[in-house]
C-alpha cells in the first residue's frame, strides 16, 4: 500500500494547467470585486451607524462574548482550511477532505450563532431591518457576509460529494483550492465586521 | 471632391456657434447666467470665461494641427502606395503637450479654489444683521421663512438688494435644487441635511428661479421668483407681512373667506393661521403668477383650484371642481386677490 503522496502530481497542482491558471487568476479578480462590494457596504454602515431613529443603540445591544465565540469559530475554520490546502499541495486527498469537513462544520456553527444573534436582537430589542437606518445597514452588511458563509458551505458540500470518489488530479485540485481562497476572504471580511461593527459599536 | 467636402465641414462648426448665438442672444435677462446681476453669479461668470478662454486656446492649437494634417497628409488615391516613415514618437513634443496643459490647469486651479471658498464664506457663521431665509422645497413649490423677522411666504422670495442674503436649504419630500441663475449658482435641497449658501442681488429687480433636480412629473414647472428690493422697501414689506390682515373687504370676499376657512386652511396659511402642507398665501394678491407658472388672472386661479394637476402633473393639491361651484369659486378668487401687502 503506497501513501497517497506517491501519486505523481506537479507542485501547485491547482495552477498546473492553463484552465487552472485561468481559474486561479479569475477568482482573484472576483475577490477584488467582492472587496469593493463589501467596502461599499462598510461605507454605508459607517454613514448610518448612529442613525438609530430613537431605538436601541449599538453599545446597548451588542454582546461581545457571543460575537467573540463566533469570531473564534470562523478564524479556526480558516486555519483548518489552510491545513486542507497544505494537504492539497502534498497530494493527500483524504486528509484534505477531512480538514475541509472540519472547516465546513465550523462554518455551520458560525452560521447557527449568527442566526441566534439576529433573532435575539429582533425579539429582545425590537431591532429589525426596518426599525432604523442603522438597523437596515447592520442587517444588510452582516447578513451579506452570512449569505457568503452559507454559499461557501453549500459549495463545499457539493464539491466534497461530487469529488469524493474521484480523488485528486489536475482537474479537481483547482476546484478545492478556489474554495479555500474564498473561505479566507470571508474570514478577512469578518475580521473587519468584528472591528467596525462590534468593537467600534461597543466603544461608541 | 473630397477636399472640398472637408473644407466645408470645417467652416461648419464656427458657423454653427454663430447661428446659435445670433438666434438666441444671451437669453432672458431675468433668467440667464450670461448677464450676471449678482455678486456670486459674477464671480462664477468670470471663472466660466477664464476657463473658456484657456480652452479656446487649446482648441485653436488642435484645430490648426488638425487642418494641416487633413490638407497635407492625405493619401492621393489607390495608386499612392508610398509607405510613410513609421515614427515611434518624439520625446520633446510629448513632454511639451504634457507640461503645457499642466501649467494651463494650474492657472485655472488657483482662482477656482479661491472662488470655491469665497462662495462658502460666512455660511457657517452668518454675519451680524444679515437677512437669513430658510428655504424648504416641496413637490412642486417653494416655502420661504424669515426666522429673524417672523415672516413666512411662498413662491415669491423677497430679499434686500446690495447685500448678501444667507439661505438654509432643505427639502420636505424628495431632492430638489434651488437655482436663481442670474444671481448665483445652485445648491441642492436635501432631505437629511441642511445646506447653506448666500446670494447677493446687486440691484433691485425680479429674477426667475428654478428647480434643477429631477423631482417628479412637474419638475419642469417648479418655478419661483426672487424680488430684490432696496433695504428699506424690503423692511417695509416684511413689516406689512407681519401685520397683514386676512379680513375680507367686500361681501363676496367675505363669502370667499368662509369657503377658505372650510376648504383651504388645512393646507394653506394666511398670516400665521393655517397649515403648511401647501404654499402660504398671505400675499397671494401681490404675486404675478399663480402656482409659479400661470399668469395671475381670475380665470387661471379658478382653473387651477378646479383641477391643479392639469397644470402641474402629480402635484399634491386635490381638485375642487366637484366641491365648489362657479359662484363659490368667484368668491374664493375675490378673497384671494384681496390678500395683498403691497399697494
Amino acid at each position: 500500500m503506497k501513501p497517497e503522496s506517491m501519486n505523481k502530481l506537479p507542485a501547485n497542482p491547482e495552477r498546473a494547467t492553463l484552465e487552472g491558471k485561468n481559474k486561479f487568476l479569475g477568482f482573484w479578480f472576483f475577490l477584488g470585486g467582492e472587496t469593493v462590494l463589501f467596502a461599499s457596504l462598510f461605507g454605508v454602515y459607517l454613514g448610518l451607524r448612529n442613525a438609530t431613529n430613537g431605538g436601541v443603540t449599538a453599545s446597548e445591544m451588542f454582546e461581545l462574548p457571543l460575537v467573540f465565540i463566533a469570531t473564534m469559530l470562523l478564524l479556526t475554520s480558516s486555519l483548518t482550511s489552510v491545513f486542507a490546502t497544505m494537504a492539497l499541495k502534498t497530494n493527500q486527498f483524504k486528509r484534505m477532505i477531512g480538514w475541509f469537513v472540519v472547516t465546513g462544520l465550523l462554518g455551520l456553527a458560525f452560521l447557527g450563532l449568527e442566526i441566534y444573534e439576529f433573532t435575539h436582537y429582533v425579539h429582545e430589542y425590537e431591532h429589525t431591518i426596518r426599525s432604523s437606518a442603522w438597523g437596515s445597514a447592520f442587517y444588510t452588511l452582516v447578513g451579506t457576509h452570512g449569505a457568503h458563509v452559507f454559499v461557501g458551505i453549500s459549495w463545499l458540500t457539493l464539491l466534497i460529494i461530487r469529488n469524493l470518489k474521484r480523488g485528486m488530479d489536475l482537474y479537481t485540485a483547482p476546484k478545492f483550492y478556489l474554495f479555500a481562497l474564498y473561505w479566507h476572504f470571508i474570514d478577512v471580511v469578518w475580521i473587519f465586521i468584528f472591528t467596525v461593527v462590534y468593537l467600534m459599536g461597543k466603544v461608541g | 471632391m473630397q477636399m472640398k467636402r472637408w473644407r466645408n465641414a470645417w467652416r461648419f462648426l464656427p458657423l454653427l456657434s454663430v447661428i446659435a448665438l445670433t438666434l438666441t442672444g444671451c437669453g432672458n435677462e431675468q433668467l440667464t447666467t450670461l448677464l450676471p446681476k449678482g455678486e456670486g453669479s459674477e464671480m462664477q461668470f468670470n471663472l466660466m470665461m477664464l476657463s473658456l478662454y484657456i480652452m479656446i486656446g487649446v482648441f485653436v492649437v488642435v484645430a490648426l494641427i488638425y487642418t494641416i494634417v487633413l490638407v497635407r497628409f492625405r493619401r492621393r488615391g489607390e495608386s499612392d502606395n508610398e509607405i510613410p516613415e513609421q515614427t515611434e514618437g518624439n520625446v520633446v513634443l510629448e513632454i511639451l503637450w504634457t507640461v503645457v496643459p499642466i501649467i494651463l490647469l494650474l492657472i485655472l486651479a488657483v482662482p477656482t479654489v479661491m472662488a470655491t471658498f469665497a462662495l462658502d464664506e460666512g455660511t457657517e457663521k452668518v454675519p451680524e444683521g444679515a437677512t437669513v431665509v430658510k428655504v424648504t422645497a416641496h413637490q412642486y413649490w417653494w416655502e420661504f421663512e424669515y426666522p429673524d423677522l417672523g415672516v413666512k411666504t411662498a413662491q415669491d422670495l423677497y430679499i434686500p438688494s446690495g447685500e448678501r442674503v444667507y439661505f438654509e436649504l432643505a427639502s420636505k419630500d424628495v431632492l430638489h435644487s434651488f437655482w436663481v441663475p442670474t444671481l448665483g449658482g445652485k445648491m441642492d435641497t436635501n432631505t437629511a441635511t441642511v445646506n447653506k449658501m448666500w446670494l447677493n442681488a446687486q440691484e433691485p429687480g425680479t429674477y426667475y428661479g428654478k428647480c434643477a433636480e429631477l423631482c417628479g412629473p412637474a419638475h419642469a414647472l417648479m418655478d419661483f421668483k426672487v424680488i430684490a428690493q432696496e433695504k428699506e422697501d424690503f423692511e417695509a414689506w416684511a413689516e406689512s407681512m407681519k401685520e397683514a390682515s386676512s379680513q375680507a373687504s367686500t361681501d363676496q370676499a367675505a363669502q370667499g373667506e368662509e369657503i377658505f376657512a372650510n376648504s383651504c386652511i388645512g393646507c394653506h396659511a394666511v398670516g400665521a393661521d393655517g397649515g403648511n402642507t401647501g404654499p402660504n398665501l398671505t400675499n397671494f394678491g401681490d404675486r404675478e403668477k399663480v402656482a409659479g407658472i400661470l399668469d395671475h388672472t381670475d380665470e387661471n386661479i379658478k382653473a387651477w383650484i378646479a383641477k391643479p394637476s392639469e397644470f402641474k402633473p402629480g402635484n399634491n393639491m386635490p381638485a375642487f371642481e366637484d366641491q365648489l361651484n362657479d359662484e363659490e369659486l368667484n368668491a374664493l378668487v375675490a378673497y384671494l386677490n384681496g390678500l395683498k401687502v403691497e399697494e
Partner: protein, 612 residues
C-alpha cells in the same frame, strides 16, 4: 475523427448554447444595436416633446419615463453590449488566442445582460417604466409609485452581474491567453484599453450593485437606508452611484479610444505615434477615473474642501486625455491618410470630442459648475463625450471590423451619407444645448415656458435629432443591404496592422490553426513588410481543443429573470422557484464535467485558414 465538430446543428439551439466568443460577440452586437434603436427612438420622442414651448406631445409622466429609459438604455443596454461585442469579436484574434479564458462564463455574461435588458424594458408593458432618471436618485426613486423603478433596479442588477463576469473574463483572457511574443507592450491599443476597461468594470460595478440593492431593499422590504425620517440619508446613494458612475464613463470611452488608435494608425498607414505614452495615458485615465466622482455632486453641499480637491483631481484627467488627442494628430502627421467611412468617424471624432473635453474642464470648476450643474450645459457636455466619443467609436469600429466579423464590406456610399448626416445632426442637436443651459434651462424638464428665450435653440436641437435619426435609418438600411447581398471582403481589406487581419474573414471557429509567433508591435504589418504571406507559427500543427456548448447559461439567466419579475410583483413563491432554477443550473455546471472536444489536424483546411 470527431463527428462532433461537423455535426449539423440546429441554428437556434446553436446560438442559445454557443460558447464561441465570435458568436457571442455577434449576439452582443445584435442586441446592443436593437437597444440602440430603442434608445434612439426614445430620444426622438423626447426631442419632439421639446420642439415648442409648453408643447404637449407625450406629457410629463411619459416624458420622465422616456428620459430615464433613454439614459439607462443607451448606457447599459446599447453602449456596454456593443463594446462587449467588439471585445468578444476582436480581442482573442488580436492577441493570437483560440478562445477566451472562460467560454462558459462569457456566454453566461451575455445571457444575464439580455435577461436584464428585457426586464428593464418590460416596465413599458407592465404599468410604466422607471421615471426617476438613469441616476435613480433616492428618495424620488424609492417613493416613485408603480413598479417602474423596480424594473430598473432588478434589470440593472441582473445585467450588471453579466457585465462583471464579462470584465473578469477579459482581464484573465488578456493576461493568460496571449500568443508567444505578444508581450504587454506589443498589444494593440484596443486590447490595452479593453483590458483597462475590464479592470474598471471589476472595481466600479460592485458599488452600483450595492447602490441598487439598497434601493431595492428600501422599495421591496421597507428598509430605511434613504428615508430621512428614520435616520437614512439619500446622499449615500449618490456617492455609491457616482463611485460607479464616473468610472463607467471611462469604461465606455476607453475602448472607443482604443478603436480610434487602431483605425487612425491603419488609415494613416503609420505606426501609432507615442504608443507607450498612449498606454500610460489610458491607464492613468482609468486610475484617475476613480478619484473624481464628487464632481457630479458639487452642488450637494459637501463643502468647499471636498469640492476643491475633486475639482483639481478632475482637471488632472485633462492631461492624459490631451496627450491622446495630440498622439492621434501626430499619428496622421506625415502619414498617408485615406478616408473610408471608418476613418471619417475617427477623424470626425477628434474635434467633437475635444469640444466635450473643453466643457469637461469647464465643468470641473466648482463655482462655475454651480451654474452648469443639472442644466442643459451638462446635457450638451456628456452627449459630446458619449456620442462624440463612444458612439462615433462604435460606428468607426463597425465599418472597420465588419469584414472580419461577417466576411462582407458595408457599402461605402451609404456609409459616408450616414457619417455626414449623423455628424451634422449631432452638432446641430447638442451644440445649442450649451447655450440653453447657460440661459437657465434645467435638464430633465418636460417643457419650458414661452418668453424665456429658450425656443429657438430647442427647435434647432430637435431638427438635429431628426437628422441623426435619418442617419441611423440609413445605417440600418446599409446593414440590411450588406447582410442580403454584401460584397465579399478579403482577409485584409484595409491593409491592417494587427493579428486579426492575418486570418480569414470571417475567422474560423478555432481562430488560428497554429498559434502565431508575434515579433513586434503591429505584428501582421511587420510580417507583411518583411514580405511574408502569413504569420510565422509558434507551434507545430496539432489537434485543436474546443470548449463544449452549453444551455446552462441561458437557463441560469432565465432563472434570474423569472425570480426578478416575480419579486417585482411580490410573488415570493415564484421568485424562490426562479432562484431554484439558478441554483440548479449552478449545481449542474459544477457536477457535470465539460472536457471539450478536439478538431483534428487532418480536418483543418489546407492553409490552416491563415494568410491571404
Amino acid at each position: 475523427m470527431s463527428a462532433h465538430a461537423y455535426k449539423k446543428k440546429n441554428p437556434i439551439w446553436d446560438w442559445l448554447t454557443t460558447v464561441d466568443h465570435k458568436k457571442i460577440g455577434i449576439l452582443y452586437l445584435a442586441s446592443g444595436a436593437f437597444f440602440f434603436l430603442i434608445g434612439g427612438l426614445e430620444a426622438i420622442l423626447l426631442r419632439v416633446q421639446l420642439l415648442y414651448p409648453e408643447f404637449n406631445f407625450v406629457g410629463a409622466e411619459t416624458f420622465n419615463q422616456l428620459l430615464t429609459m433613454h439614459g439607462t438604455t443607451m448606457i447599459f443596454l446599447a453602449a456596454m453590449p456593443l463594446i462587449f461585442g467588439f471585445m468578444n469579436a476582436i480581442i482573442p484574434l488580436q492577441i493570437g488566442a483560440r478562445d477566451v479564458a472562460f467560454p462558459f462564463l462569457n456566454s453566461l455574461g451575455f445571457w444575464l445582460f439580455s435577461a436584464g435588458g428585457i426586464l428593464l424594458n418590460l416596465g413599458w408593458f407592465m404599468g410604466g417604466a422607471a421615471d426617476a432618471g438613469w441616476t435613480g436618485y433616492a428618495p424620488l426613486s424609492t417613493t416613485s409609485p408603480g413598479n417602474g423603478v423596480d424594473f430598473y433596479v432588478l434589470g440593472l442588477q441582473v445585467s450588471g452581474i453579466g457585465t462583471l463576469i464579462g470584465g473578469i473574463n477579459f482581464l484573465v483572457t488578456i493576461i493568460n491567453m496571449r500568443a508567444p511574443g505578444m508581450t504587454f507592450m506589443r498589444m494593440p491599443l484596443f486590447t490595452w484599453s479593453s483590458f483597462i476597461t475590464s479592470g474598471l468594470i471589476l472595481f466600479a460595478f460592485p458599488a452600483l450593485t450595492i447602490g441598487l440593492a439598497l434601493l431595492m431593499f428600501d422599495r421591496l422590504f421597507g428598509t430605511q437606508f434613504f428615508a430621512a425620517e428614520a435616520g437614512g440619508n439619500p446622499i449615500i446613494y449618490e456617492h455609491l452611484f457616482w463611485i460607479f458612475g464616473h468610472p463607467e464613463v471611462y469604461i465606455l470611452v476607453l475602448p472607443a479610444f482604443g478603436m480610434f488608435s487602431e483605425i487612425i494608425a491603419t488609415f494613416a498607414r503609420k505606426r501609432l505615434f507615442g504608443y507607450s505614452a498612449m498606454v500610460f495615458a489610458t491607464a492613468l485615465i482609468g486610475f484617475l477615473g476613480f478619484m473624481v466622482w464628487v464632481h457630479h455632486m458639487f452642488t450637494v453641499g459637501l463643502g468647499p474642501i471636498a469640492n476643491s480637491i475633486f475639482a483639481v483631481a478632475t482637471m488632472l484627467i485633462a492631461v492624459p486625455t490631451g496627450v491622446k488627442i495630440f498622439n492621434w494628430l501626430f499619428t496622421m502627421w506625415g502619414g498617408k491618410v485615406s478616408f473610408p467611412t471608418a476613418n471619417l468617424f475617427a477623424v470626425g471624432f477628434i474635434p467633437s470630442f475635444v469640444l466635450g473635453g473643453m466643457t469637461g474642464v469647464m465643468l470641473s470648476v466648482p463655482p462655475a459648475d454651480y451654474q452648469y450643474h443639472d442644466s442643459y450645459f451638462v446635457v450638451a457636455h456628456f452627449h459630446y463625450v458619449i456620442v462624440g466619443g463612444v458612439v462615433f467609436g462604435l460606428f468607426a469600429g463597425m465599418y472597420y471590423w465588419w469584414p472580419k466579423i461577417f466576411g462582407t464590406v458595408l457599402n461605402e456610399v451609404l456609409g459616408k451619407l450616414h457619417f455626414w448626416l449623423f455628424f451634422i445632426g449631432f452638432h446641430l442637436t447638442f451644440f445649442p444645448m450649451h447655450f440653453l443651459g447657460l440661459m437657465g434651462m434645467p435638464r430633465r424638464v418636460y417643457t419650458y415656458l414661452s418668453g424665456q428665450s429658450l425656443d429657438e435653440a430647442n427647435f434647432a436641437a430637435t431638427i438635429g435629432a431628426f437628422l441623426m435619426g435619418l442617419a441611423t435609418i440609413i445605417m440600418v438600411w446599409n446593414i440590411i443591404q450588406t447582410a442580403v447581398k454584401g460584397k465579399k471582403a478579403g482577409n485584409d481589406p484595409w491593409d491592417g496592422r494587427t493579428l486579426e487581419w492575418a486570418i480569414s474573414s470571417p475567422a474560423p471557429e478555432y481562430n488560428f490553426a497554429q498559434t502565431p509567433l508575434v515579433r513586434g508591435l503591429d505584428a501582421w504589418w511587420l510580417e507583411k513588410r518583411a514580405g511574408n504571406k502569413a504569420m510565422v507559427p509558434a507551434e507545430p500543427l496539432d489537434d485543436i481543443h474546443m470548449p463544449d456548448a452549453s444551455i446552462l447559461p441561458f437557463l441560469l439567466s432565465l432563472g434570474f429573470f423569472i425570480a426578478s419579475l416575480a419579486a417585482i410583483f411580490a410573488n415570493w413563491a415564484i421568485a424562490i422557484g426562479g432562484l431554484g432554477v439558478v441554483a440548479l443550473a449552478m449545481i449542474l455546471r459544477s457536477v457535470i464535467d465539460y472536457h471539450g472536444y478536439h478538431i483534428h489536424k487532418e480536418d483543418l483546411p489546407d492553409e490552416g485558414g491563415e494568410g491571404k
